[in-house]
């Protein structure tokens, strides 16, 4: 008759994929991320939630060094992927981003064919020896993106001609084509209708068997539906991090409670 004890998800035993310690991010004088330490698990969907401007996207972008492209942005602290510091001088950000893929808010296919969109990454990273291998990689990626059946007969049609939901799944297929280990998603469904959203969410759940997925979302229901772990950010601080079911039924911090029950925006 009680909902406690809460259903335990099976992720506790998973290994740590990304470990962040005392991370600070500054945009010029603006201290955007304050002392964030968190351990993200492999083969787990972790959701970052919090009000606009709380730092969740900024922190997500630290995980594949996307903030390097912003001149005024300064990142301090340690972020390690499989125990190796990703901000080490010897790390090539391009290689890092092949391992840590990213999907953005708005579907952004290249103005190329569906095939070339997916083949782009494997080509520049030299993952295929010949055309047949590349064909295999493209098919596999499109299958993982749950869009193969819809596009297999028109692989050479432009990617921009697909519907919004299909474009987003194409972008996910493109992101997984380089065999990443981590997939970062910054509000991947905010431009999609509920059906396309459900398809992408189903896809995220499937991707969990192979990847560590980190998703930033404004929809708390989405975080509750797709993730096993949830991190709540507020004003640049990581306020609470725990099992999703615990965060949504019995959060420890009153700020988390206020946010998920719709009391602060």
């Amino acid at each position: 008759m009680y909902d406690a004890p809460l259903r335990k998800t099976d992720v506790e035993a998973n290994e740590i994929k990304i470990s962040a310690k005392d991370v600070q991010v500054f945009y010029g004088d603006n201290h955007a991320i304050k002392d964030v330490s968190v351990e993200l698990q492999d083969k787990t969907v972790t959701a970052f939630i919090g009000p606009s401007g709380c730092g969740k996207s900024t922190f997500l972008r630290c995980l594949n060094r996307m903030n390097d492209t912003i001149d005024v942005c300064r990142v301090e602290g340690l972020i390690a992927l499989d125990g190796e510091d990703i901000y080490d001088k010897r790390v090539d950000p391009v290689q890092l981003r092949a391992k840590v893929g990213m999907v953005f808010q708005k579907p952004n296919p290249f103005p190329k064919s569906i095939y070339d969109n997916v083949a782009y990454g494997p080509r520049i990273h030299g993952l295929a020896k010949n055309k047949a291998e590349l064909d295999d990689i493209v098919e596999k990626a499109l299958r993982r993106g749950a869009i193969w059946n819809e596009v297999k007969d028109r692989l050479h049609a432009p990617g921009t001609g697909l519907s919004g939901g299909q474009q987003q799944r194409l972008c996910i297929a493109r992101a997984v084509a380089t065999e990443p280990e981590v997939l970062l998603m910054d509000e991947p469904c905010s431009a999609l209708d509920p059906i396309a959203t459900a398809q992408v969410e189903e896809l995220i759940d499937e991707l969990r068997t192979n990847y560590s997925v980190v998703i930033v979302t404004h929809s708390m229901q989405q975080a509750a539906r797709v993730s096993q772990k949830t991190a709540f950010f507020h004003l640049g601080n990581l306020v609470e991090y725990g099992e999703t079911s615990q965060i949504f039924t019995n959060p420890v911090d009153s700020r988390t409670e206020s946010y998920i029950t719709g009391r602060i925006g």
């Binding site: 008759m1 009680y2 909902d3 406690a4 708390m220 229901q221 509750a224 949504f248 039924t249 019995n250 959060p251 009153s254 409670e257 206020s258 998920i260 029950t261 719709g262 009391r263 602060i264 925006g265």
Partner: protein, 241 residues
């Protein structure tokens, strides 16, 4: 919620306040039903008993409308954390209150039958005292609900042991009366059912107090409650008479 700020959507606040006001109103009706049925038993007031029987319909209807309202809040507002606990606890408490209402109605029905029989000395007074204890427990459980008072809820749960104890005593008394004079059997059977009903009411009140703890803390009360009604498990209570 007193300890948290208001929702950004004020209609959500109104919805939650609405179902909580309704459960308290329902609680008030059930308190009155316990009180009146026990009173009608002691004073042999058949008219009052009839009122209790009729009044149960209103309680049943409130349970139904509360469940509908709670389902609506879940569907439209997707409550989480403490909001979800408010909705869940209201649904569970309304089921407990509805059962207490039924048990009161049953007591009132038996009042009508017992009014035609000879009194068994002092028993209805004892039953009324027992019912009053349960009524006070319910009042405190509802107060604890309003104030989210975990300590008071725990106190209510502990007091259920006294009610169980009273039931044990009455059980033995009724057995004695029946052994003394078989003409007492019919009345004593009815009186025993009433005692058992009141004891069951105490259990429902306990469940309500447990909901208060769940609401206040987010966790189910720890520890196993000791059940003091041993008449069904302890042979010594039925033997040696």
């Amino acid at each position: 919620m007193s300890d948290l700020k208001h929702h950004i959507a004020t209609a959500f606040d109104r919805d939650l306040e609405g179902i909580q006001a309704q459960i308290l109103k329902m609680g008030g009706l059930v308190e009155a039903a316990i009180h009146d049925s026990a009173k009608s038993l002691e004073t042999r007031d058949e008219e009052l008993a009839e009122q209790v029987r009729k009044g149960d319909l209103a309680i049943d209807e409130m349970e139904e409308s509360l469940n509908e309202e709670a389902a609506r809040v879940i569907a439209l507002r997707q409550p989480a954390a403490s909001d979800l606990r408010v909705v869940l606890s209201v649904m569970r408490m309304s089921a407990n209150l509805e059962r207490i209402g039924d048990l009161s109605k049953n007591m009132a029905k038996r009042t009508t039958v017992l009014a035609q029989m000879t009194q068994i000395n002092g028993s209805t007074t004892a039953l009324r005292r027992m019912a009053r204890d349960v009524e006070m427990m319910l009042k405190d459980a509802l107060d604890a609900y309003i104030k989210r008072d975990e300590a008071l809820a725990r106190d209510v749960i502990e007091r259920d042991a006294d009610v169980d104890q009273m039931y044990n005593t009455l059980f033995r008394e009724f057995l004695t009366f029946m052994l003394e004079d078989p003409r007492n059997i019919t009345s004593c059977m009815h009186l025993h059912f009433i005692a058992k009903n009141i004891e069951r009411m105490g259990d429902h009140v306990t469940a309500i107090a447990e909901q208060v703890i769940f609401l206040a803390t987010g966790e189910k009360p720890e520890g196993v409650r000791v059940k003091e009604d041993r008449t069904s498990s302890d042979p010594a209570l039925s033997a040696d008479l």
